[in-house]
Amino acid sequence: MSIDWAQVYASTYEDVVRFLYRKVWDADRAQDLAQETFVRCLRDANAQTLINARGFVFTVANNLARDEARTAIRRRKHLVLLKGEAEVARPAAADAEEAIEREQKTAAVEAALADMSDRDREVLLLWDAGLSYQEIAQQTGLAIGAIGTTLSRARRRLVDTYEEMERQKHVARG
């Protein structure tokens, strides 16, 4: 059974981008890595008759993100200057406020995600990327019966941490 990569690509690309975004926290980089993920899948001769293409895609994406983390330090040295330049061009006032708000909220989510165990976070992100319990179990090596409990715990942690941070922010504002 050969894989229709066009189909897999169309249906999972955005999910992959989001998934990667929550690992590298850089929209452009997430898109680059998502592209690279699919390029590698297409090139992989052994991947043409997989049973679970979607799971494979996320495995590749995951590995790329992990390697990204290793090179991130070196890369940031180059990018620091670029980002500084980009920030100079500010959008209109209303947009700017919205953008700042969004940025802060994103940072809060990032912090909330960092506040849970690696495994819980991984399960949560894979589920949010649209994978089934079966696929998540396969990707993470967990028993399928443990997925529900893990998700419940991860969600609880995410919501509690995030809402606590938002609460404190509003308190600070007065």
Binding site: F38, T71, V109, L151, R155
Partner: protein, 345 residues
């Protein structure tokens, strides 16, 4: 009656089971009878929704999916020197001290500034090249660990192998930097990392041999290919560097098929019986890619090393019949590596 535990409720809420499945039916039945668990189910569902909502905040604002055709084009085999796909990422690096190929004599340039100029640019390439040649012994099937690129300050004077007449006995890796800094920088990564340090030492201790246009023909043994390439270069280094845009983009590495390599008379040291995927011709030497099977690829880097150079890698060192040293490293069983080395002999 026993209630449904949190994990099962969550699974049920998430639709982990099809309605007809035994577990789903069991839980549905219980829910019909138990208001408490019905409440808990509602909570699980709202928790799930809230978590989704929060996560949705942390997403890129606009994601447009590029057309698939573009992706397919990019994935096509003609790509330049990039890291191989994940399944091919287990590579074995062999540094063979045998023949070498130079660009002929070129004016010496300030290598330091040349490196500085080029170092920032093809960083992605550098990383990927480093990944391929890094003699790491990491046992994983994913993309090899990227080793840090050599700092720009490291002496790069040994970059190009230009001196064909570099003494009869030694096969010294010495030459002059060609006048295309960016290209050289990227191709510097082509050779094994260990070569960089050893060669720097050689330079420092003055063992290097300054070279100009090769006055005498190169030492006969295993230098046949050197002659052919040197000749090509001697009559016009600039022409060689004005090689196809492809080579320039790849940082000076020209990829050719094995047939072309044979036509040019390049001396290739291969593992017999393994399919040759392609040959990369760089200023430092050759990179030969062979298919190992099991989704693995063998990368053979042919450069020169001085005969008494020590290997910096952790892998086994095999001394070949012609005195060359083969250093093996990679996520392959030690026995397999040795077996491969034997085959090359």
């Amino acid at each position: 009656m026993s209630h449904v535990d949190e994990g099962e409720l969550t699974a049920y809420a998430d639709g982990a089971w099809a309605p007809h499945e035994a577990d789903a039916q069991r839980i549905a039945q219980h829910l019909a009878e138990c208001a408490n668990c019905r409440n808990r189910l509602a909570l699980a569902q709202s928790l799930s929704a809230r978590a989704s909502q929060i996560l949705a905040v942390a997403a890129p604002v606009q994601v447009s999916t590029p057309p698939f055709e573009q992706l397919r084009a990019e994935a096509a085999p003609r790509r330049q020197w990039t890291a191989p796909p994940m399944a091919w990422a287990a590579t074995v690096i062999l540094a063979l001290g045998i023949g070498w190929f130079g660009r002929g004599a070129v004016p010496r340039v300030d290598t330091r500034s040349a490196v500085m100029d080029g170092s920032a640019e093809p960083s992605a390439l550098q990383e990927q090249d480093a990944a391929l040649v890094a003699p790491s012994v990491e046992a994983s099937a994913s993309v090899p660990t990227l080793t840090p690129a050599p700092t720009p300050a490291s002496p790069r004077g040994r970059a190009v192998l230009g001196s064909a007449g570099a003494g009869a006995a030694t096969t010294e890796v010495v030459g002059q930097v060609a006048s295309a800094p960016a290209e050289i920088t990227a191709t510097d990564q082509v050779a094994a990392e260990e070569g960089a340090r050893a060669e720097a030492r050689d330079m420092a201790t003055g063992k290097s041999v300054a070279a100009s246009v090769p006055a005498s023909p190169p030492p006969p043994a295993a230098q046949m290919a050197n002659t052919s390439l040197a000749e090509r270069s001697a009559d016009g280094v600039m022409r060689r560097m004005a090689a196809p845009a492809e080579a320039r983009k790849a940082g000076g590495i020209e990829h050719i098929a094995i047939a072309e390599a044979e036509r040019r008379g390049l001396e290739l040291h291969l593992v017999p019986e393994l399919e040759v995927l392609r040959v990369g011709v760089g200023s430092k030497g050759l990179i030969i890619e062979q298919k190992l099977g099991d989704g693995k690829m063998l990368t053979i880097t042919q450069t020169t090393v001085s005969p008494d150079r020590r290997s910096d890698t952790d892998g086994p060192v095999v001394v070949m019949r012609n005195g060359a040293r083969v250093t093996l490293a990679g996520p392959v069983a030690l026995d397999s590596l040795r077996a491969l080395a034997q085959k090359i002999r």
